[in-house]
Amino acid sequence: MKRLTSLIRKEFYHIFRDKRTLLILFGMPVVQILLFGYAITNEIKDAHIAILDQSNDEVSRRLTDKLVASGYFLPDGQAESIGDVEQLFKEGRIKMAVVVEPDFADKLQHEGGASVQLLADATDPNMANTLVNYATAIIQNFQLELNQPGQPPILVGAEVRLQYNPSLKGVFLFVPGLITILLMLVSAMMTSISIAREKETGTMEVLLASPMNPGQVIIAKVVPYFSLAFLDAVVVLLLGRYVFGVPIMGSVPLLLAEIMLFIIMALSLGILISTVAQTQQTALLLSLMGLMLPTILLSGFIFPIENMPLPLQIISHIIPARWFIVIEKAIMLKGVGIAYFWKETLILIGFTVFFIGVSIKKFNVRLG
């Protein structure tokens, strides 16, 4: 155990002394999520909205004034009925509609709560989401103002309805996809390069000549990358949650457990690559061509699998990332439990067992 700690400590030294490695580990997640996030986020300023105030009393006007005064929204077009709103959406004149229910002030006073409906055009899902988030925040703020200490609480509910794309297809996909790519990069690519480096410099021989057995050497290699990859995933999840409002609807422990499974899968893939690659460059090329590109292109992260030609769809089945993205989306966006993706989980476990098995076999053949 003590020997293993020596090995692991050494791996951390390697990582923390290499600026390039550090940059990939910590700079990239932040830069990528910000890039991806903002690249598909339009600036929210004077977004065209329609206001349908079916109550038109003093309180409701205060609310709509507050929304307009925020500077994010610009009322556009007259809406007298839901039909008008529909029309404005269809014409593409507005991105969001605020519908205040009838007898707003009355309900607030006598029933302790009233609601505002936010309809957003989700054909541009990211935009829709941002608009709704802003409006919701303003409405919540308004509710705070209404509530006086010592009086029964008043609730102003914001009811969100996404038009045209209620399942928000495409949106939020970048966080699961990004996590997948980062985990692949850190676990598979960096591990294989790091093992190849030991072979290239000749230190692997010395390690193998020491009382450490090959299994321990490999474990010591992967422990740091396992923890750092996990940290990366958490960073992306947090940034996604607090910068872009990407939710985690389902169980967080389950999500983290699946992330760990995927990391182990990717690490075993990295080990497999390093049994083939003798130099860092080969390891890098193999990982880039064999892992990163398929992961980015064929996993459904950027291009929907359903739209691919059939041969590519078939190939996508052997891309572990494809299954992992399904799992992530299920937990994060749909909030469902393991019952809905046990098959995908089993497939990932299968990949892991397969990669480890082949690595051991290759390793033994070489020692033969």
């Binding site: 020997r3 020596s6 050494k10 230190t203 033969g368």
Partner: protein, 241 residues
């Protein structure tokens, strides 16, 4: 045979149909400096890997430090030190961290590697640079350090695979002084080299040609046998009959 520490009998390693090591036999005595010579591809490295527990032999018999190379590779690894022909320390670690790392993987206690490490640093005169990354040191110093670290855990045998490649003559000389010192302390030194002048420093040597041991004696004995004055001539006679 009581004081022999390596005993090899008809040891063979086959890769497919190719015999990399073809039935070699030799014996190394405790505390001696044994030169293991041969041209590139003669099977030196394969033989050495089998003796150091890195590779399983195909057939034959060999005992290293009293352990069987077929079954007790792990015990062998604990009793030997190993320094490869390529630089075997970590460039991005400091001298101290390298010492600590190798001490760690050989299971030395904190107190042990600290004491030994300090002694080692003092002996090599590295006090002022002990906190520096290894890549900032000249190659000669690194090689000397690598050797010292390879014997940090007091192994019975140290295997050196072309330890002086690419090193200047003065450092090579100093390096051999360190080897003598280690041998004087009772460590058996098993060394491969390309430099025939270095072969002269060995107590006994063996020469491999095409997987077989073709010559096996003291340097003096070999020179006498082949009727030449230098080891270089011996080597040429043995390698190209």
């Amino acid at each position: 045979m009581s004081n022999s520490i390596i005993e090899v009998e008809n040891l063979t390693k086959r890769f497919g149909t190719f015999k990399a090591v073809d039935s070699i036999s030799l014996e190394v005595k405790q505390g001696e400096i044994f030169g293991f010579l041969g041209a590139n591809g003669a099977g030196k490295t394969t033989a050495m890997k089998m003796l150091s527990g890195l590779l399983s032999p195909t057939s034959g018999k060999a005992m290293v430090a009293g352990f069987d190379v077929f079954k007790q590779q792990n015990q062998i690894k604990k009793s030997i030190g190993y320094m490869s022909q390529r630089f075997s320390l970590y460039d991005d670690l400091t001298i101290k961290e390298n010492i600590r790392f190798y001490g760690g993987i050989y299971g030395l206690k904190r107190k042990q590697w600290k004491e030994k490490g300090e002694r080692l640093i003092k002996r090599l005169g590295l006090d002022e640079v002990e906190g520096k990354l290894l890549k900032d040191l000249p190659l000669g110093w690194k090689q000397k350090l690598a050797f010292s670290i390879a014997i940090l855990h007091d192994p019975k045998i140290v295997f050196l695979d072309e330890p002086t490649g690419g090193v200047d003559p003065i450092t090579r000389r100093q390096f051999w002084e360190m080897i003598y010192e280690a041998a004087h302390d009772g460590i058996t030194v098993f060394v491969t080299t390309h430099y025939m002048d270095e072969a002269e420093y060995c107590d006994r040597i063996s020469m491999m040609v095409d997987g077989r041991v073709e010559a096996y004696d003291t340097p003096e004995g070999l020179k006498k046998k082949y009727g030449v004055k230098t080891m270089n001539e011996v080597f040429i006679k043995v390698a190209r009959p």
